[in-house]
């Protein structure tokens, strides 16, 4: 009950006119940041951080966290409209969001994405409100072995998704692992696969690969198909929002499952990206319409967006209570907290009640404000697709180039992006799936690091992945997900035999 009283006090703080103004401003800035591929929430928050130094800490963190929400919302927009994920966790949204836009259902896809984001975030905030201390201690149980198990589960729940031959999937994934291995080997501190090029020190950044593979690759494909942009029929009135809302409750199971996956991934802290992939993979398995996934199924938008947003929100909890950021953006926010003289950690909830509950209250309100802002803009976003391709394509190209440049402020990355664009086009032409490749680039190095840290700790024994109940459970879940189709086939055959 004390929590509730604190929360209402927090609402009183967040509802001060100045704070509401700051909230709306933050959301709008955040959406803009999210739309620009490459700029990303972390960079955006870092750039805008100094703006907030002259504000009281509570207003400042409200503004920054609203930029964060805005960026989470905004990331979905370009994924759906142009197949360019603005953020790593929006990649899975493109799988069904972009086909929907091509079928003239951009409005529906955007509404579904925004609404699911809101639901996911709300679920996570409620969880933070009610069980914050309990959940924080759960995060402490995650060492390297547990983290690897989570990544393993993310990979496994995704394998076998594509309809392409399994060897093509494996080839694409291996290519992703190879790209992820370039740069500094964080365990030995040595450079590898850089071939003496200093530009390669940083490895292949995921964002540059994705902007190229998806964005540029898509433009090349459209050019080949005669410059026709198939989203032209998009309905552009607000009624589409209400119509989509009527449809959404049917997917409550998917939403709930995605919320749980998202919260879990956010706290551990594996982050929003594995959450969105895992949630998409599992939704595809569980859904009756699973075979339609990838062709423009609204459920395929609901699942990753809900999970990504739940994870993004839940990631703030370990930051506040442990001082460990659950995402790069949270890391920058953490820096901000320190500058305002707030020390994140176990004592923050005790010593800085006004700040913590003000922030939590602003999560509720910020998300609500964000939802209203982006939903009213759905028709405008959808209308972008009516612009003829010959005009919009150069604009997208410029946007992609700026995005790629802004990741590391390096012109080499722009060239790299174009190279990835050509690779993406060729892979698509040869029917190699891009999703496993992207998944491996995003999580490959993290999974490798956790794997090697675990083995260092266990002195080389693989037994560490089954050394306690938590890690064994996750590993076994992963194995089940990996061999699911085999198990299913065996089961059907067994039933066939007995019948």
């Amino acid at each position: 009950m004390e929590e509730l009283a604190n929360l209402f006090q927090g609402f009183a703080i967040a509802l001060q006119p100045f704070n509401i103004m700051v909230m709306v401003l933050g959301i709008v800035l955040g959406v803009v940041i999210g739309v620009l591929p490459g700029l990303g929430g972390a960079n955006g928050v870092a750039i805008l951080l100094p703006l907030t130094f002259s504000m009281p800490p509570t207003s400042a963190i409200i503004m920054l966290s609203c930029i964060y929400w805005g960026a989470l919302f905004g990331g979905a927009i370009t994924s759906i409209l142009f197949n360019i994920p603005g953020e790593p966790w929006s990649v899975a949204t493109t799988f069904d969001g972009y086909p929907m836009a091509q079928q003239g259902k951009a409005g529906e896809a955007l509404t579904a994405a925004f609404t699911s984001s809101f639901v996911g975030a709300l679920f996570a905030v409620v969880m933070i409100t009610l069980v914050a201390p309990l959940v924080a201690s759960f995060a402490l149980r995650f060492g390297p072995a547990e983290k690897f198990a989570v990544y393993f589960l993310a990979f496994c729940s995704f394998v076998g998704l594509s309809k392409e031959p399994p060897f093509k999937t494996i080839a694409a994934m291996m290519m992703g692992f190879a790209l992820a291995a370039v740069g500094l080997d964080s365990i030995t501190g040595q450079l590898r696969l850089t071939f003496g090029f200093t530009e390669m020190l940083n490895g292949f950044d995921f964002l540059i690969a994705v902007i190229g593979l998806f964005g540029i690759g898509e433009i090349l494909l459209t050019m080949e198909e005669g410059l026709s942009f198939r989203g032209g029929k998009a309905k552009i009135n607000l009624r589409v929002v209400v119509q989509t809302w009527k449809e959404l409750p049917a997917y409550w199971m998917t939403s709930l499952r995605s919320c749980l996956i998202g919260c879990w991934m956010g706290i551990t802290p594996a982050g929003a990206t594995p959450a969105s992939f895992m949630s998409y993979g599992i939704a595809k398995r569980m859904s009756k319409k699973g075979n339609n996934f990838g062709k423009g199924e609204i459920e395929g938008v609901v699942a990753p967006e809900t999970a990504a947003h739940a994870a993004g929100t839940a990631a703030l909890l370990p930051m506040l209570s442990l001082g460990v950021p659950g995402s790069p953006t949270a890391a920058v926010l953490l820096g901000g907290l320190l500058i305002w003289g707030l020390q994140p950690g176990p004592m923050l909830f005790v010593e800085q009640k006004e700040f913590v509950w003000g922030l939590i209250a602003s999560m509720y309100l910020g998300n609500l404000v964000g939802l209203i802002v982006v939903l009213t803009c759905v028709p405008i976003f959808a209308a972008i697709l009516r612009i003829p391709f010959s005009i919009i394509a150069p604009l997208i190209l410029v946007l992609c180039a700026i995005g790629a440049y802004s990741v590391h402020s390096s012109t080499f990355d722009v060239i790299l992006m174009l190279v990835f664009g050509v690779i993406g086009y060729l892979l698509k032409k040869c029917n190699y799936p891009l999703a496993p490749l992207v998944l491996a680039i995003v999580l490959g190095d993290k999974a490798e690091e956790a794997f090697r840290q675990s083995l260092l700790g266990s002195q080389g024994s693989l037994g560490i992945f089954f050394s306690n109940a938590l890690v064994s459970t996750i590993m076994i879940l992963g194995l089940i997900a990996l061999f699911w189709s085999v198990i299913q086939q065996g089961y059907t055959r067994l039933r066939g035999a007995t019948a």
Binding site: G143, I339, Q453
Partner: protein, 336 residues
């Protein structure tokens, strides 16, 4: 909006007039935004310091041009150093360093040395403390070392930031000084390392004060000793009535190891004297602000400030020391 623009103009004009009044200090001034490179990821110690400085500069209007913090963390910071090395004659780029100024070129063999850059100032030195989980029975350094000795070699895990960098150098030094063996496990960031210790996934760490202070205050971690010649200066109680000052030096506990990490500023090659002086003056102003003093206190920093030849000399000695330390530990890149 208009009002605030006017206000900003007025302050800038006032500042300009102020600067004019002191021509000796304002012989050179930035005419473009200054890029402040951080050769490490967001959220780490160097990044926090750079962003604090950026905040102070913005808040107190210490510079007419904006200061932009850019993280170039690739290749253990090599990306940032090489970027600065390649920007010779561009006075609008400065970099904050950590020990990777020495360790990265030595461990990876990338073509870079601090001598390629222009030294500006040492802002502070970061301390290292030996930490254990508060649930563990070890109350003193001696207890802990005895326990490591008693355990089979390599079963005690030491967590640290990065590979072949400061944390691992200290670990190797402890192994040598005490005749013990740890298994060193590298993580991405210092905050993560501290939490791994709280979760009992490693047995000890050598976190910087700022990385672990929150967990100490929360009663989750226990400091054993500080790797400095004498205890730290800050006597404000942090946890259980103990302050930073109450942590004994490792030397007094039988571990004769001293290690401090440079938090200093360099600028691009071929900078003129005026340009260096401008930045030295800027950082002097930064150091005088209450925000900076608070930041120093929260991280229990050693606030030594050096510039010019003293600074260059300090860096040179430190580079030699790192070379020896890394050579002894077998961390040098093949071909060096």
């Amino acid at each position: 909006m208009k009002r605030s623009a006017e206000f900003a103009l007025a302050t800038m004009a006032a500042l300009y007039a102020g600067a004019m009044a002191a021509p000796a200090l304002a012989a050179w001034e930035p005419v473009r935004p200054v890029e402040f490179i951080v050769p490490a990821g967001t959220g780490g110690g160097a990044d926090q310091m750079a962003r604090t400085i950026q905040g102070i500069v913005t808040k107190h209007n210490l510079m007419k041009q904006p200061m932009v913090v850019i993280n170039k963390s690739g290749g253990a910071g090599g990306e940032g150093f090489l970027d600065l090395k390649a920007s010779g004659g561009n006075p609008h780029k400065i970099i904050i360093t950590l020990s990777n100024l020495f360790t990265t070129p030595l461990a990876t063999g990338i073509p870079f040395s601090w001598k390629d850059l222009t030294p500006v100032a040492m802002l502070a030195l970061d301390e290292f403390v030996l930490w254990v989980n508060a649930e563990q029975p070890f109350k003193t350094t001696k207890d802990f070392i005895a326990a490591v000795k008693a355990a089979p070699a390599g079963t005690m895990k030491m967590g640290g930031t990065g590979s072949k960098q400061e944390d691992q150098i200290i670990t190797v030094a402890i192994e040598k000084a005490a005749g013990v063996r740890f298994t060193y496990i590298p993580y991405k960031g210092g905050g993560e390392v501290a939490v791994q210790l709280v979760g009992n996934h490693v047995e000890s760490t050598v976190n910087n004060p700022i990385e672990a202070v929150a967990q100490w205050r929360g009663g989750k971690l226990r400091p054993l000793c500080v790797f400095d010649a004498k205890p730290m200066a800050y006597d404000e109680p942090i946890a259980d009535g103990k302050s930073w000052k109450d942590i004994p030096s490792c030397k007094s506990q039988g571990l004769d190891i001293e290690y401090l990490m440079l938090r200093g500023i360099f600028m691009s090659p071929r900078a003129t004297k005026d340009q260096v002086e401008y930045y030295v003056d800027l950082f002097k102003k930064v150091r005088a602000t209450p925000e900076w003093l608070d930041f120093m206190k929260s991280g229990a920093f050693n606030t030594t400030f050096l510039t010019g030849a003293d600074y260059a000399k300090w860096v040179e000695i430190e580079e030699k020391r790192h070379e020896t330390l890394m050579k002894d530990a077998g961390f040098l890149a093949t071909g060096n």
